[in-house]
Symmetry: C2
């Protein structure tokens, strides 16, 4: 999950929500935010009163190639200015104060952001400054709060990590990858008939070498082998390899003259 | 989602999987990984051949208080040594090569890690070095691959970001927070009867001031107001505030002598 895609093309997927960094302090973090946004398919960045001004070269250095997001970022004097053209505004808030507002998990927020975007409405997500987070006036500009379920004993997230979790959930909310599958590349999952064919081959050679000569125990031993080979999906290519292993082991045995007479 | 919990107590939640950083390069990243682990309730860190040796003060400086994870981290000469006591090993792998192995999403991996841990088995997750990721020999030591669904045009994750996503999914896999709720603090959601009582008050004052004097339009205007106030959950406290708003507006109007005679 590492490495760099410097200069990789970034294909905007719209309507994606606007990431709004409120009074961000470190340019390095703004760059890391841009990288996380690109990872999750978010492309619109707004900065409210960045502490050290804008642009800052250091941001581009930590963006690992997500330059276009930084190039297109806009600077705003206030949260009100940054959200004026948006229809919905979410605010990330690890410790909701005495506020009466809808509160979403990151996953709940991602689902709602997808639904809001699909309706053609503009949406933004506010992230607070590194040390203090959003203040009460910032949060009052939002219609909805977002709090990630995380270890309550250690809930403070790095700014780019906070954006990463939201960008990841945004991407996954529209992703249909099955949670588990077997990579098979150019081969395919073997059929039960192909597996049975291999097991016949194996047992034939095990009979020939005398491994199964204890006839009362033979059915149980055969079943145990079958249980092992049936446990997971096997590919057709792996079965061919296993056929070869059995053939070569049996052949080697015969060539060394140690095989039992039939 | 920002700020620091320096020195915050970290309560280990076991059985949690071991995070294994393979040939990590930058100590700052190791510290950021520890912080992300603490965020998601992962507490066991192993380092395979860290490039600059171990320990490194710079790691503690970026861990934002997740010191105990770094204090307890162990160093290993090889992946084989780092996984020898584990029963299951997952490998994060953004670009699976010509490998026949089960492939999980981050969410699928989190669910399996929870199930594996519940069976009392030890599990580890391999993360590769910053530039190159895991090599083929590293991956051969794993039984299962993990690939996060992310923007394929920009899939390279910072090391700490990769750990953050996995730690977040690990936490959320055991979290039951509803995706949406209304924060109400010391108040509660109002009942429909309480809302109706407010609407009666509002309409009574609107009748008194003449806002609803157009009798043919009155039913539609009342319905529109009702639609607005019924749209979301309202708290009992907010209704009391709204009662006050209506009373005071009406009173101010009367005191200024501009109210219509009854």
């Amino acid at each position: 999950m590492t490495g760099r895609d410097a200069g990789a093309p970034i294909a905007p997927i719209d309507p994606s929500p606007v990431v709004i960094l409120v009074r961000p302090q470190l340019a390095e973090n703004i760059g890391a935010v841009a990288r996380a946004m690109a990872n999750g398919g978010l492309f619109h960045l707004r900065l409210v009163a960045p502490r050290d001004g804008w642009p800052q070269d250091r941001a581009w250095r930590t963006a690992s190639g997500a330059d276009r997001i930084l190039d297109a970022a806009t600077v705003h004097a206030s949260v009100a200015d940054a959200v004026a053209d948006l229809h919905r505004v979410f605010a990330t808030c690890p410790r909701p104060r005495h506020i009466i507002k809808p509160l979403l998990t990151a996953r709940g927020a991602a689902a709602e952001l997808r639904a809001i975007g699909a309706r053609g409405l503009g949406c933004g997500i506010l992230f607070g400054p590194e040390r203090a987070g959003l203040d009460n006036d910032d949060i009052a500009a939002a219609d909805t709060l977002v709090r990630y379920p995380l270890n309550p004993a250690f809930a403070s997230l790095n700014l780019a990590q906070a954006v990463m979790v939201m960008a990841y959930e945004w991407w996954v909310a529209a992703d249909e990858t099955p949670p588990r599958r077997l990579l098979t590349h150019k081969t395919r999952i073997a059929t039960k008939g192909e597996l049975e064919n291999f097991l016949d081959h194996l047992i034939e050679e095990l009979d020939a070498c005398g491994f199964l000569r204890n006839l009362p125990k033979r059915p149980g031993m055969v079943r145990n082998l079958r249980h092992f080979f049936e446990r997971g999906e096997v590919t057709e290519q792996e079965l061919r390899t296993l056929h070869g292993v059995v053939t070569e082991l049996a052949l080697g045995r015969r060539q060394r003259g140690r095989d039992e007479p039939a």
